[in-house]
């Protein structure tokens, strides 16, 4: 073929452009159902592209795509390797599933005139998340970060409760501080190296690695991304944002937004700064380890005392971020494999839990835990999926959660950190308490006699929830995909860009 347009060659750009155009279209049509169809088409094209890219990466190595034909490092480079191809697949699949789920859930929670905007914002958020993952340019990451964050603030503010507004405002303030910290860090790196291309920065840092601006840049970028990923104790925006956002939004951002931020942290610490700077000169590992351990314990304890089920799950999310950070802080092949596979598994598990709660909210409007008495008997399918994913969250053998915790424990044992094994087990026991509490109330208590019979949740909502619940079991039994790809990604990250 001659100079014609080859779609296969331009897959990296399409991964970002398709949802962006979809967002504009959805905003133009305004009608909820039609906007949903546009979103559905855009969202399901994402996994197709992401799998094509993953396949290409696994067969022929890293893809470097010059955006707009401007050659890197001057132009913006989209760079896809094992680590971010894996993230693209995860974010794409979650987006496609949540979109399928969201038609009637959104219709029941958001006013008709706002539904078109909702879908527009959802696609913008997706654009930003995919863009952050795919791009190889530090400033481009900032732009996509703000695209996704601004869309997320709007999505959260669309929640029914008026507390959603104040949650969105607080997230806006904290999120902007995080993004600005990130951009300060990038500015310092730019001043020191004169380039914004991540690979290029990594190459040039060698000559200036022990200078104060570079160390300061590491600190600013670390704290900035730490705010975005809700690293304990920078997580204060998260519980209320998750609790009061519309159900579909909570499920989507809980399983993607913080995970993308973790990916960025991995990318900067391991690939750009590299282990010699991030874990050699600055000794970030012990500090991350302390924060990870506190993050695994304190939010788990807080989760036990929550009255709102969505907020309880949100605190549990902060605790799971602790596990992922633990994998990073171990700075070893096994630990990092555990961290990355936990990132993937937790996305699936927490997605299932929030989607199941979304079904319950659709059918009954309940969000308080004590009102859930006997709900397992009236809504067995919904709460069945909740139980399956809940077991995954605890880390019962045979579920996805067990696999990643196993790797983390192995990583800790490798370095002789036996106390860490105890911490992981103890934190899992706390998960037994807060998940068990829900299961006890939902299945073993008598339904409230005065409660009206719940309406049946729509079949597509249940189907999506069960697809993810089944994935929780599947990835617990067949570890080739998650652990295998995670191990490859870990290897690649540990090697760094240099």
């Amino acid at each position: 073929m001659n100079a014609g347009f080859l779609p296969l060659e331009h897959l990296p750009a399409l991964q970002v452009v398709v949802p962006l155009l979809g967002a504009v279209l959805a905003a133009l049509v305004r009608r909820g159902a039609i906007a949903w169809m546009i979103t559905l088409a855009a969202a399901w094209s994402m996994p197709v592209i992401a799998f094509a890219l993953l396949d290409q990466v696994l067969t022929s190595g890293t893809i470097s795509y010059a955006l707009g034909g401007w050659a890197p490092p001057v132009g913006i480079e989209y760079r896809i390797d094992q680590a971010n191809a894996f993230m693209l697949v995860l974010v794409s699949i979650m987006a496609a599933l949540v979109t399928t789920y969201s038609l009637r859930s959104v219709a029941s929670e958001i006013a008709p005139e706002r539904q078109g905007w909702y879908y527009s914002m959802f696609l913008l958020c997706l654009t930003g998340l995919l863009g952050m993952v795919i791009t190889g340019d530090a400033f481009n990451i900032f732009v996509f970060m703000e695209v996704s964050s601004l869309a997320t603030y709007v999505l959260i503010a669309l929640g029914r409760d008026r507390r959603a507004l104040i949650s969105a405002y607080q997230y806006l303030v904290i999120g902007t501080i995080g993004a600005t910290f990130y951009v300060i860090g990038v500015g310092l790196l730019f001043t020191m190296t004169g380039t914004l291309n991540l690979v290029d920065i990594a190459g040039r840092l060698e000559t200036v690695e022990n200078t104060r601006p570079v160390i300061a840049a590491l600190g600013f970028i670390g704290v900035g991304i730490g705010l975005k990923l809700a690293l304990f104790p920078l997580h204060l925006w998260l519980p209320n944002a998750y609790a009061f956002a519309p159900s579909a939004v909570t499920a989507f951002i809980a399983s993607t937004a913080t995970k993308v931020a973790v990916y960025l942290l991995l990318r900067f610490f391991f690939s750009v700064f590299g282990i010699p700077i991030a874990f050699g000169i600055t000794q970030a590992a012990p500090m991350l380890l302390v924060l990870a351990v506190l993050g695994m314990l304190v939010p788990s304890l807080v989760a036990i005392f929550q009255t709102n089920v969505k907020r309880m799950l949100a605190y549990s999310s902060v605790a799971q971020i602790g596990y992922i950070m633990l994998g990073i802080a171990l700075v070893s092949q096994t630990g990092l494999t555990g961290g990355i596979s936990h990132l993937f598994n937790h996305a699936i598990i927490k997605g299932t839990l929030f989607l199941a709660i979304g079904c319950m909210v659709y059918s009954t409007g309940i969000t308080r835990i004590e009102q859930m008495a006997g709900i397992g008997r009236t809504m067995p399918l919904t709460m069945g999926a909740f139980v399956v994913a809940g077991l995954g969250l605890i880390g019962i053998p045979g579920t996805a959660g067990f696999v990643s915790k196993w790797f983390l424990i192995m990583g800790a044992v490798e370095q002789g950190l036996w106390w860490l094994v105890a911490v992981i087990v103890f934190s899992s026991l706390l998960a037994v308490i807060y998940v068990g509490r829900i299961i006890e109330i939902a299945w073993f208590r008598e339904p409230v006699a005065t409660a009206a019979a719940p309406r049946k949740p729509p079949v597509e909502m249940l189907a999506v929830t069960w697809v993810l619940a089944a994935a929780t079991i599947y990835f617990g039994l067949d570890t080739r995909i998650t652990a295998g790809v995670a191990a490859q990604a870990a290897e690649l990250l540990l090697a760094g860009y240099r």
């Binding site: 900032f142 703000e146 501080i177 500015g187």
Partner: protein
């Protein structure tokens, strides 16, 4: 003596750092939501200076090729900051829009008062 020279010689960075810290302080210290957002805007704006001032080379001209000039300033920071300004404007606009909605919902824009109401709602739940 050299310390003073250092401070004066790098006054552009001192201004940047002052604005940065002042903006962040306003965000932390103020309860009024509009003041918080303005603090946030100051904080973001300080970063523009952080990018722009190292890009200027003393004696350098705008980067337009001409035989008479050999030293050019770096144009890239300006372009980056144009993008950052747009992001900043969007953030501020969205933040203010949220404050309008909060005012409609709660009848106040003092974060302390709203948090009291929120706490009550949490307990009543």
């Amino acid at each position: 003596m050299t310390l003073i020279q250092d401070i004066i010689g790098q006054y552009n960075y001192w201004i940047t750092i002052f604005l940065m810290v002042a903006g962040l302080y306003i965000v932390v210290a103020k309860s009024n939501m509009i003041k918080t957002l303005l603090g946030l805007a100051v904080f973001q704006t300080s970063v523009y200076l952080l990018y722009l001032s190292p890009g200027k080379i003393i004696g350098g001209t705008p980067p337009i090729l001409d035989e008479k000039f050999q030293v050019y300033s770096n144009p890239l920071p300006h372009v980056l900051i144009l993008t950052a300004i747009v992001v900043g404007v969007a953030t501020l606009a969205l933040g203010l829009a949220l404050v309008v909605r909060v005012n409609e919902a709660y009848g106040t824009i003092e974060e302390d008062e709203i948090m009291d109401i929120v706490d009550r709602e949490d307990h009543a739940e």
